[in-house]
Amino acid sequence: MTDEYDEDTDAELREWLRQWTLAVPDDRLHGRILQSYRSVTVPSSPWARLAQRELRIRVPLAAACLAALIVLAADVAHERLAWLRHPAVNAGRVPAATHAVETAALPFDQASGTDARSIATSIVQIQGSVAYVTPFDASRFTPLPAGAIRVHRRGE
């Protein structure tokens, strides 16, 4: 361990050496270093990084996610606001629902002699996966298998 200590204790020489003092670097160096730092590092703020196009890969990904969310929101809004639209429009716009109602009404059609297609086109309201129809008691057709549209008489 003695190897780690300096045995040469020339106090006089040390005192001479300590006379040589230097000032600290000035502001010029500070500004230069700061400028260089900004040019080589990625800013921590995502917005700043976006501004410097450091998120080249993530931006398209985020845009795709945002677009998907918008489509989803529009779809949900479309279903939620279905009651505002005219029944015929709804029936035309939701062919899957129309088809489901036709299918569901088929047995009733055979029993009552009513045309299934005319029942289907009499849909007055579609909310989410539920289609409301008026001219017949369709409760006997519910529930349908999971995923299919349930048919209810209006007011149920």
Binding site: E4, A23, V24, P25
Partner: protein, 188 residues
């Protein structure tokens, strides 16, 4: 906040953390570079390069293996050696004196400056390997172990260089030694 943590944040783009690190270590790094290469502009370049090199991912500073200041001295030393080799110049220490203390006796100030100049010239005349060891030990107060890590040599080699540096200085400052110690001279 530790230097290691500040460095991590600085590498992630935290400017405040970087400036804090810079403020902590700029003076010793600059002084070391200036005393080793003797030119203010080059010392500033070394300090600049040193702090930027610190940000590079390949410079993997490990806080458990030593202090950041020693690590910075290591980088500064490499930068200074590279510049000293390419500059191929006679070492003539630029003066970057501390501001004058108005409260001090003018004669005392003149004497101190005279001593400082003589010391600067004597240190500048030392071989580079002796000079860097002397500067780190006497001026920056690094331990022999730290110096060994900085210059990449065994502790015994460091001691040997330090010893030779002091011997050279004693010879070069002999004339001043013959007069008296600085404190005695300035008190007269």
């Amino acid at each position: 906040m530790t230097d290691g943590l500040l460095l991590q944040r600085a590498r992630r783009g935290d400017e405040t953390a970087f400036l804090l690190l810079y403020e902590r270590h700029k003076a010793p790094v600059f002084r070391f570079a200036l005393r080793v290469i003797g030119c203010v502009d080059m010392a500033e370049d070394v300090t600049h390069d040193c702090f930027l090199a610190l940000l590079a991912s390949e410079n993997s500073f490990d806080e458990r293996r030593g202090a950041l200041r020693s690590y910075l001295f290591g980088i500064a030393r490499n930068c200074a050696l590279a510049r000293a080799r390419t500059a191929d110049r006679e070492l003539d220490i630029d003066r970057v004196d501390e501001p004058m203390d108005e409260r001090k006796d003018p004669l005392r100030l003149v004497l101190e400056r005279e001593v400082a100049d003589a010391v600067a010239c004597a240190v500048a005349a030392l071989p580079l390997l002796q000079r860097e060891v002397l500067v780190l030990f006497e001026f920056e107060e690094c331990s022999l172990r730290d110096i060994a890590g900085i210059v990449g040599a065994e502790i015994g080699v460091v001691k040997s260089r330090l010893h030779r540096a002091r011997e050279n200085l004693r010879v070069r400052l002999g004339g001043m030694h013959a007069l008296s110690s600085p404190s005695e001279r300035t008190n007269r």
